[in-house]
């Protein structure tokens, strides 16, 4: 693979034994992982093509301990890579050889649930799904639902401002968080927001969310929990072309219906997911929409009937309403396990651009042309309601030229997304993966502003360096850029 990471600092590497001893003294033997096998577990994240053995891994169990570790690293000028569950698809949690990984996975408690204020205060190492599970007994849920929600932590969701399939109605992470406790690199603890609906002063919380672990380590958060609808049910709409499917999505929204989710799959994605989940996806369709609505039984029936009427104008090959809870679960299982299902048949590289919906047909044609030119196959999965596209480029990891071609094709696809008015990443983050493409979307002035903001929170650039910005722009960062 082609992306370079910054050269590790020799001086730090030579001190590694001392650093490990210090960390054990601060955090305790059991919280520090220093042996080679132990560290190997942390050498990569969801972007598995890239690996680096961290100098050490620390797994603190309190905010104060995170603060002590960061204070030490700051004093000793040691880089820190924060980590939740390590499910990042963009290399956001990729370690550096001269960095200490600080993982929050042991901090996974629910601290407070207040149904009247509709908030839950949790430690950030809790998994996304565990938040919903903690409140489901009262009919509540935590809305952002990335596909990795069984494994991914809230900490990672906060760092990346994660989305999911149901964002069309409920928004992404930043729209569902009211407060946070953040440890800054110098060990100071910043409290932001709380159970009230808006925070005072500048929106530091809004800046913190989506800062990819480069501003601080969030150890606690106050999240909004919402009362779930009485019920929800998806329907499947198959079409003979992706143009027809795209036009149908526009038509649904134009009538004033905001389904809770509208998911799109093209033929290759349908085939793989159906063989995995047996969800009843139509095998004769070129494009499939999963449209889910919520409400009482009667409201759901009404709304689905209305959507069927709208869809009829686009000559659907299939209109099939879920027959009940079992089929609904299968339909979603097929969609949510799409990445895993495709992973069973091939290595793949998952892209994450967002486009204006009206440009869908030309972008899908463009993606197909780009992948053909690189002699690669592609399957497309798309959060159609909000324009977030996930082309999965299939390649052979054992063939270096195939992997390289996949990266090239990916970069071309993301450039296309920007050209049509979209962006490089809708929910996965920049990480290392899209770092070098940032100048496609931003001017140097704009990136300079962002880098100066980084310096406000982390003047020496010790937190998760080598990510988000093209390396050549960050050569002097942390020295002359310090604000």
């Amino acid at each position: 693979m082609t992306l370079q990471m910054p050269q590790p600092d020799r001086v730090t590497l030579n001190r590694s034994e001392d650093i490990i001893a210090d960390l054990k003294r601060i955090a305790g033997e059991e919280a520090v992982i220093a042996d080679e096998d132990g560290r190997r577990t942390f050498e990569t994240d969801g972007l598995t093509a890239y690996r680096a053995m961290p100098l050490a891994v620390v797994l603190p169990d309190t905010t104060d301990l995170v603060a002590e570790v960061l204070r030490y690293c700051h004093r000793e000028r040691i880089k820190v890579v924060a980590r939740g569950a390590g499910t990042s698809l963009c290399g956001g949690a990729l370690p550096l050889e001269d960095a200490v990984v600080v993982g929050v996975s042991r901090m996974n408690k629910v601290l407070e649930i207040d149904y009247n204020s509709r908030i839950a205060r949790v430690e950030s190492g809790i998994t996304n799904l565990a938040i919903s599970n903690a409140v489901s007994g009262e009919g509540f849920f935590y809305a952002p639902d990335p596909s990795s929600q069984l494994a991914c932590t809230l900490a990672g969701n906060l760092a990346m401002n994660s989305g999911g399939a149901h964002c069309l109605k409920y928004g992404v992470t930043t729209n569902n968080v009211l407060g946070a406790k953040v440890v800054l690199i110098d060990g100071e603890i910043l409290e932001l927001g709380g159970p009230h609906l808006d925070a005072e002063g500048y929106d530091l919380l809004g800046l913190m969310i989506g800062s990819e672990g480069q501003f601080g380590i969030i150890t606690e958060a106050t999240v909004r929990i919402l009362r779930a609808a009485e019920g929800a049910r998806p329907m499947l709409l198959g079409f003979a072309s992706s143009e027809a499917a795209g036009a149908c999505v526009s038509a649904i929204i134009a009538t004033g219906i905001i389904p809770v989710a509208i998911e799109f799959m093209d033929r290759p994605a349908i085939e793989v997911c159906e063989s995995f989940a047996k969800a009843g996806y139509p095998m004769d369709a070129e494009a499939l929409l999963i449209v889910e609505v919520e409400g009482s039984e009667e409201e759901i029936n009404d709304r689905l009937a209305q959507i069927s009427c709208i869809a009829a104008a686009y000559n659907p090959t299939t209109i099939q309403v879920s027959s009940g809870a079992t089929q609904s679960a299968k339909i979603w299982k097929g969609r949510k396990s799409a990445f895993g299902a495709i992973g069973r048949i091939s290595d793949y590289y998952c892209m994450d651009g967002t486009i204006p919906l009206s440009r869908l047909p030309e972008v899908l044609r463009g993606i197909s042309d780009i992948c053909s030119a690189h002699q690669l196959r592609v399957a497309n999965i798309f959060h159609a309601g909000d324009g977030n596209l996930h082309p999965l480029i299939l390649y052979d990891a054992n063939d270096p030229t195939s992997a390289e071609r996949a990266e090239l094709a990916g970069a071309e696809i993301l450039s296309l997304c920007v050209e049509v008015g979209g962006c490089l990443t809708g929910e996965h983050g920049v990480g290392i993966e899209k770092r070098d493409l940032m100048l496609k979307q931003f001017s140097e002035t704009e990136l300079s502003l962002q880098m100066q903001i980084k310096s406000v929170f982390d003047p020496e650039w010790l937190l998760n360096p080598g990510k988000v910005f093209p390396l050549h722009l960050t050569v002097d960062a942390g020295t002359s850029n310090a604000a």
């Binding site: 009247n116 928004g171 930043t174 709380g194 159970p195 005072e200 809004g206 709304r303 903001i453 406000v456």
Partner: protein, 407 residues
């Protein structure tokens, strides 16, 4: 008061700003000026307005997105949306009338610059949650863009959130791109009468715990309820607690009935139909029950919903206060008698005890010069805010001191 400079484009604004940057003389930034009397008084040499930069340049109803020049009047935006049965879902509050300005004159950029969100915030998010992209000019005179036109975008840091709510102290918003939503087909309001504040707030919280997507919850104690322009909802001498439901017609009818049943311990509500409902909620948006009055000051307090009545009782121990609870009790507009410090120490003490923060929305200039208008920050947050100010506006050229003395 100096002349108002009106730029028609971002580039013109840049060139109008340039001589001031050169001389390091700060400027006041306004849209229409509807909120000019909010904030700490400033020392500026000129006023720069974006009100001549107006026009909607992109509106895609099926993508739920609109882009407009910063100075576009909100009423123009809302009219364009209404013609497609769409709306700004966070129903921005109009702070103009209550703070001594005109009604209905605010610009779209100012809505985001002040993160101004109305009753629907409790269900659907704040102004900042609907902001997708910006173009702005910072205090170095640089034009920059952040975000974009798509709903999901995590490319780079989230500057849109950073700038929303910064009251023109970081950048001048020359263009904003934002999310819009379909307007509901039907609206109904369940109105309960005569509940004391704490029970009214409990009712509102209970309503939000039901699966019926309640989109507005306010409680008006009797004095404030008596100020309602609408006779159909006002019931002289009685408090009202109002719960709003919006959806397709059949859903609204079903949900109104289901809620009446689920909340029957709070009494039998009057169900108010679409027309009267919309008039009622629209009046609240303009804070019609908190009219401009030189004899009083107005505070805006944000707290955890159930804490609302406690904050109010704490304040009432020290001074009379007329209040309106929005956001299920989490947003309280508090009118207190005018005084040299607008009761700041008692209001802020109540907030310190029960959580949240307080902003002084209306007070005489001398009062706003004497007390903190915006909630004082922790030293650490103050340091970070100062750092952000230095990034965007190192010479403190834009609205210096409007939010905080050093910002």
């Amino acid at each position: 008061m100096s002349d108002i400079l009106r730029a028609a484009t971002a580039w013109e604004l840049q060139s109008m700003l340039a001589p001031y940057l050169e001389k390091e003389v700060p400027v006041e930034i306004i849209g229409s000026g509807s909120k000019s009397s909010i904030g700490r008084p400033m020392q500026t040499a000129a006023t720069l307005s974006t009100a001549s930069m107006h026009g909607i340049w992109m509106y895609e109803p099926t993508e739920l997105v609109m882009s407009a020049q910063g100075g576009t009047p909100l009423v123009q935006i809302e009219a364009a949306l209404a013609s497609n049965n769409q709306m700004l879902a966070f129903e921005p509050t109009d702070l103009g009338p209550t703070s001594g300005g005109a009604r209905g004159t605010q610009t779209i950029a100012s809505v985001f610059a002040c993160n101004s969100s109305g009753s629907r915030r409790v269900a659907i998010g704040a102004a900042r949650d609907h902001l997708l992209g910006i173009e702005g000019v910072n205090g170095r005179g640089e034009v920059f863009r952040a975000g974009g036109r798509v709903m999901k975008n995590v490319t780079g840091y989230d500057l849109c959130r950073g700038i929303a709510g910064s009251w023109g102290t970081l950048a001048i918003l020359t263009e904003v791109t934002f999310k819009v939503l379909p307007a509901p087909e039907k609206t109904a309001t369940l109105v309960y009468h005569d509940l004391p504040d704490d029970i009214g707030v409990e009712l509102m919280c209970s309503a939000m715990r039901l699966p019926y997507e309640v989109s507005g919850t306010v409680h008006l104690p009797k004095t404030v309820a008596g100020r309602l322009e609408q006779s159909s909802l006002a019931n002289q001498g009685h408090s009202i607690t109002a719960l709003r439901i919006e959806n397709f017609e059949k859903s609204v009818d079903y949900r109104a009935e289901a809620m009446r049943e689920a909340l029957k311990v709070y009494g039998d509500p009057t169900v108010v139909g679409s027309m009267n409902s919309m008039e009622f909620w629209n009046g609240l948006r303009h804070l019609s029950v908190m009219p401009y009055d030189e004899a009083t000051c107005l505070w805006r307090v944000s707290t955890a919903p159930m804490m609302g009545p406690r904050v109010v009782s704490s304040i009432r121990r020290h001074m009379p206060a007329e209040v309106m609870y929005d956001w299920s009790g989490g947003l309280i507009w508090i009118e207190v008698p005018a005084s040299a410090d607008a009761g700041a120490s008692d209001v802020r003490r109540a907030v310190a005890v029960h959580g949240g923060h307080a902003t002084l929305i209306r007070a005489d200039q001398s009062v706003r010069a004497a007390v903190e208008v915006f909630q004082p920050q922790s030293p650490l947050a103050e340091r970070l805010m100062g750092g952000l100010k230095r990034v965007f506006d190192p010479m403190r050229m834009l609205n210096p001191g409007r939010m905080y003395a050093n910002i």
